[in-house]
């Protein structure tokens, strides 16, 4: 497959970006460790059981949750199923062609999936209707509508808020037939994984890279922390390398940054 789509950043613009970083500032006037303005709107799609729209600068993502009933996997008869799917829509940029998900979309879906699964955010053992026969399938579909870098965090926040505000009709087995309950319930939530993404541009470590910054970065590192401060998912991206010291530095930076973002996410969820 083709490598990731990069923006062509002109030499003049690169110089401008680097000059600014040297002065401790980004070209959009942020500090090196500041996120862009973030807005999260839950419940934007009435037909979905859960949904959220996220705007992180000009990166624009929407996530929807649908709950279905399915057969459990043979090796986990007592667990519900999580399916995360992402599509970078052709609306997102002129380089995005319509068609089945490309490798960027698949990586994106899998990293968001890992953050949800490994933080044990949802107790899947409680999403069983009949062991070995019927369990709930939780579909998280992520659509990237507009892109300007850091799709990982934007998609993760959209997915997390959509899941944590999901309300669905439970299904019960009545004499062999599955019947929909009458009152909606929340998913059995027990944790909240918070994703933060850093990039190394030249020798600088920055958070929440824009598309321009991603196009000239060495590499990117996404880290998900759970509520108790454990690291539960990591993904290095980009075709360059990070120094061991960079990684150690980012792990620490991500810890404090994720606490900051956790407060934002919790605020949105409790007000939903």
């Amino acid at each position: 497959m083709m490598p990731s789509k990069k923006l062509l950043v002109s030499a003049v613009r690169k110089e401008q970006i680097l000059k600014s970083l040297a002065q401790g500032k980004r070209v959009d006037n942020r500090g090196l460790l500041d996120y862009r303005p973030l807005s999260i709107t839950p419940n934007v799609i009435e037909k979905a059981e859960g949904s959220a729209m996220v705007k992180l600068g000009d990166t624009h993502v929407i996530a929807g949750v649908k709950i279905g009933v399915g057969t459990p996997f043979p090796d986990t008869p007592n667990e519900g199923i999580l399916i995360v799917n992402a599509e970078i829509l052709p609306t997102a940029s002129e380089y995005q062609e319509p068609g089945p998900p490309d490798e960027d979309s698949i990586e994106l879906a899998r990293v968001v999936d890992r953050g949800i699964r490994e933080s044990k955010m949802i107790d899947f053992s409680k999403l069983v209707i009949e062991p070995g026969k019927h369990v709930y399938t939780v579909y998280v579909d992520i659509s990237v509508i507009g892109m300007d870098g850091n799709l990982f965090d934007a998609s993760s926040y959209a997915a997390v808020v959509a899941l944590l505000t999901t309300k669905y009709y439970p299904v019960v087995n009545q004499n062999g037939t599955l019947v929909k309950g009458s009152e909606k319930v929340l998913l059995p939530v027990q944790d909240l994984g918070v994703s933060t993404t850093f990039a190394k541009v030249d020798s600088y470590i920055i958070v929440d890279p824009t598309w321009e910054e991603e196009s000239m970065m060495e590499a990117r590192l996404t880290i998900v922390y759970d509520k108790s401060g454990n690291i539960c998912a990591v993904q290095k991206g980009g075709n360059g390398a990070l120094l061991v010291d960079d990684v150690l530095n980012i792990i620490d930076l991500a810890k404090s940054k994720s606490e900051e973002m956790r407060k934002v996410l919790e605020g949105v969820i409790s007000n939903a």
Partner: protein, 238 residues
């Protein structure tokens, strides 16, 4: 027993036969796109992005004018039951009729050997999503600065419990006797999309067309307001 969808002249959502559902259009919502729009029409929530005209050396490009491409796609969470993200036959057909509905309005001869892409993403679907897509796409094409003879607006008329109504909602679309989406270029008194399923008499068809045209006039005002709103804020603001 058929469902009673019209009681005392009122429809399931309280509208009269010629009333439109609430309709809202925003212009210029996607930074990377040449033009874009967002429409809420009833429960439809649809995003349209335009890319191009861009050079294309692909085989089959027209040397006399731009080639228009359209993708109509429904998000997996846009329907009651999750929709498979793969394009269905229905989506492929709708992509084609949307393209055919918009092409007559555009002056594509200005951009030979190029390609213009229309990407329609249905975030939430309700009855009449193809009509809403056409209405929104025409606005997005205007936002992209593609020269055009007129805006295109589309609306469905149909027969529900024996009564002609405009702008069918989901339940009227599914349970009504007929459904006829129509797209207009009002300045030239032209129709650019016309489909129908179900049954109507010739008289009903003619009356329905007039009703659709009246509704399209209202929609056109909303399209023009949406464009004026964006461009009164300064041309470069996206």
């Amino acid at each position: 027993m058929e469902n009673q969808l019209i009681i005392n002249g009122k429809r399931t959502d309280g509208r009269g036969p010629t009333d439109l559902r609430p309709l809202k259009i925003d212009v210029g919502i996607i930074k990377n796109a040449a033009g874009s729009s967002y429409i809420e029409h009833g429960k439809n929530k649809i995003i349209v992005a335009i890319y191009g005209p861009k050079d294309s050396h692909r085989y089959g490009m027209n040397i006399e004018k731009a080639t228009l491409r359209c993708r109509y796609h429904m998000s997996p969470f846009s329907t009651e039951e999750r929709k498979n993200p793969q394009p269905s036959r229905r989506e492929i057909e709708i992509s084609k009729v949307i393209r055919d509905a918009l092409e007559p309005s555009l002056i594509l001869e200005n951009f030979p050997k190029t390609m213009i892409d229309i990407f329609v993403e249905v975030l939430q679907s309700d009855g009449g999503s193809r009509s809403a897509s056409i209405t929104a796409a025409s606005v997005a094409l205007a936002d992209a600065g593609i020269p055009m003879k007129d805006l295109v607006e589309a609306v469905a008329v149909g027969k529900v419990n024996g009564t002609l109504v405009v702008d069918l909602n989901d339940i009227e679309d599914k349970e009504g006797e007929s459904d006829m989406p129509v797209a207009f270029m009002l300045n030239e008194n032209k129709i650019t999309l016309l489909q129908m399923d179900g049954k109507m008499t010739v008289e009903e068809f003619k009356a329905g067309l007039t009703m659709a045209m009246e509704a399209a006039k209202k929609i056109k005002e909303i399209q023009k307001e949406a464009l004026a709103k964006k461009y009164s804020q300064g041309e470069n603001k996206k």
